[in-house]
Symmetry: C2
Subunit: 469 residues, 2 copies
């Protein structure tokens, strides 16, 4: 489909702007075209909508006051961090206020004794991980966008990353939240404890709610002791099905490794053209495996995984001998998206999930679907947890190609569901996946979500047109 620009973003009235300025300070309310246009989109191509104003609050109290005002006036509010969202969850479809939380950027506490961090939502995922690392601790979730993505955004989307199978996703690390409801009320859910069952699990409900239930203003996150060592290996296979069989054997051997990433042949080719890493061009798939922990145990598991890859018909297997070499092996995975992006001017990075044993089958279907719709789709992803990123590159202005890609992805989502999978593993629903949500969840559950949304946000001001709508 062509770029979807909604026309609603009419300017806010003067009285509302005046009150917003009184709450956050005049310099933190912008409504001129040049100031608000960058907030008409996020990292999702094809969706745009101009906000009426962009507001930068600096405290929970300011967020609460903005939401009270917005609820009273019926003005939509779209919370936003870095705008690296990939499902247009932060595009202000119905105009109103984009509430940018990047001024709330302090790490409030790192406790090595309690293995936790407390931070504001505007801290980047990488900054939080670095602050933890300085105390010898690991913040396990590692979304690809970690250098820019804010913690608030990663919590709001329940971001995943490369270590999902062994370490879980963001929800597994959120211990407590402070959030402002659509009413302007402030709630504190959970706390500092691993075990706490006092009341419904609103911590996890807010996690992944994509700004439709509340605005997250403080986050308490579980940390782990940093692993002593980490290592990676790499295996080329004749086909993706062979790589899938190797993954099955690794799991069957009782190994749950930190890293199990795959690239299909198109991705390997694009990476090699882009980065000249010396990757083989004759393989059907590349599998990167890795683990962390005590050095001897890591070495043992890497050897076992390498052996299992060889036993499953790998063309070539190598295990990094030292840390720098290990990092180099990950480079292929890390530059997959930039490499694919160079093939066109618009990159549609998608996100589906299937049960792990069906990955190769799913990629086969993706290839068929792409061919039938005359688009090129390359697929890479997380073989450990079945999360695939089929990626289509088209040219700006080629509306027909955009429309063909749109139809191809519709088929891909339905195929993932048919294989027992899901329409989004880690990016979220946003506006992009909303048309498929009823098919995934059923009408009764979608209705239930609407009622839950109304419980948090009776005026319906929080991120309208997304989940819960």
């Amino acid at each position: 489909m062509p770029v979807k620009t909604t026309a609603t973003g009419k300017p806010l009235d003067a009285a509302t702007l005046r009150e917003l300025r009184a709450i956050v300070g005049a310099e933190h309310v912008r409504h001129a075209d040049g100031d608000v246009t960058p907030y008409a989109r996020d990292a999702t191509p094809l969706f745009r909508a101009r906000p009426g104003a962009v507001v930068h609050p600096a405290s929970t109290e300011e967020v609460a006051a903005v939401l009270k005002l917005a609820a009273a006036r019926g003005v939509p509010v779209v919370p936003r961090g870095a705008g690296s969202n990939l499902c247009s969850a932060t595009v202000p479809l119905e105009g109103g206020i984009v509430l940018v939380l990047t001024r709330l950027d302090r790490v409030l506490e790192i406790s090595a004794e309690e293995l936790l961090a407390v931070c504001q939502p505007g801290v980047t995922s990488a900054a939080l991980a670095d602050a933890a690392a300085a105390h010898g601790l690991l913040y396990a979730p590692d979304p690809g966008s970690r250098s820019v993505a804010t913690i608030g955004g990663t919590v709001a989307t329940c971001a995943g990353g490369l270590r999902g199978l062994k370490y879980g996703v963001t929800r597994n690390y959120v211990l407590g939240l402070e959030a402002v409801l659509g009413t302007g009320e402030v709630v504190r859910t959970g706390g500092r404890l691993w075990k706490d069952v006092a009341g419904y699990d609103l911590t996890r409900l807010l996690t992944g709610s994509e700004g439709t239930l509340g605005v997250i203003t403080e986050v308490t996150l579980a940390l782990l002791p940093a692993p002593e060592s980490a290592g990676n290996g790499l295996a080329y296979f004749p086909t993706l099905a062979d790589a899938g069989r190797a993954v099955t054997r690794v799991i069957a051997a009782g190994i749950v490794p930190a890293t199990l990433e795959f690239l299909d042949a198109r991705c390997v080719d694009a990476v090699e053209r882009h980065a000249r890493l010396g990757l083989r061009s004759d393989a059907g798939a590349l599998l990167i495996f890795g683990d962390d922990g005590e050095p001897a145990a890591v070495a043992h598991r890497l050897d076992r995984m390498a052996g299992l890859c060889r036993d499953t018909g790998a063309i070539e297997v190598s295990v990094a001998g030292h840390a720098a070499e290990s990092e180099a092996l990950l480079a292929a995975r890390r530059c997959t998206l930039p490499a694919l992006s160079r093939l066109g001017t618009i990159t549609i990075l998608e996100d589906v999930g299937v049960p792990r044993p069906r990955i190769a089958e799913m990629v086969g279907h993706i290839e068929d679907i792409a061919e039938r719709h005359d688009v090129t789709i390359a697929t890479f992803g997380h073989a450990g947890d079945g999360n695939l990123h089929p990626t289509c590159v088209i040219d700006k202005g080629d509306d027909e190609a955009a429309e063909r890609a749109h139809r191809a992805f519709g088929e891909i989502f339905r195929t993932a569901m048919r294989l027992g999978g899901t329409i989004t593993g880690e990016h979220g629903v946003g506006a992009a996946k909303l048309p498929y949500l009823t098919e995934r969840l059923g009408a009764a559950q979608v209705e239930l979500q609407r009622r839950i949304k109304a419980a948090f946000d009776p005026a319906g001001i929080l991120n309208p047109g997304k989940a819960g709508s």
Copy 2:
């Protein structure tokens, strides 16, 4: 307080009973005194309420039909598994139907390839763990009641157990649920995937909702490869504060062990009188530490933990040389509750949480409070995750002692909150903790929970008088 018996449990009318019989079969609807009296209570002392009928459905369809009928008639429904609940969450405070799910007792699937299990809610936690173990897999949550507690009940309470710090609690393992809402509608949340962010996280919201939002009819659970080996050690300390310092040093050393259990001196004394395990009588606290994983790594971590205990002033430290000895070390922990129970006729097993570094301080407060209220309270618990079980034993019919214990526990809950902790770590809110919930969560959040409850159960039939009420 004396036994709280509510008087509401009036018989259901003849028409309702007739319809219930038509749904589940006449032999699965009971309403005679002798049949329903056992369902007037669960494992929580001091709370009783007679249900109008006890219904044993055998399928999701039957559960849905019962709930539709109950919603139409305004009849309360209290879902129940084994009744091992410890916060009176399954006591039918307002009468109506106790819906017993133990006929839904099939393990539907164990997949070593996908590392998951699918089962009905009436399977016991131990049976599920055994079924997983037969495939070389671990179901990690291990509540103390696992031999009788049903999976449905452990999901409904988000049960914890002895391995919380390393392995997390039940919510970390629930991948998907089928549940019947208070409307009789059936929803399927989540699925078979580790990463799935399609829609609000209703899987986690239902987990721990204590039968107030829906009746769980099928559960998909994540499994892990069974660890190759496990071992335990034991350390006596002069005081509980010394044991607490040892725990802090273990964590600071980057070790997150599977087991870190403590017993205070009263518990050690009761266990020794009961079981004659040869425990020392001159220590202020006993710490049991243990871990699992690759044999060499486990041995290394046990040695390090033993050394850290010695460095922190332990009177005596021992590490089990083999599996049988290791199991014997856990015997002291396992028989703590039965040992304490022998000291009276009613055992009030409580459940609070505090940040790990404040455990010793909390136990000191518990001792002061017990002394002030003239009751004996012994405390044991999970030092790794700060979850404490202060336990008071009184005699049946001693209403004054019950009242003193009630007041003492009120103070204990408030003290836990003051130290940054919670009123329940793993048992739940039920009727027993409901009076303290507003103090824990704040009025705005309690109101929000009521609105969420109404979204799932607009007729208010599901477990009334508990969370969400």
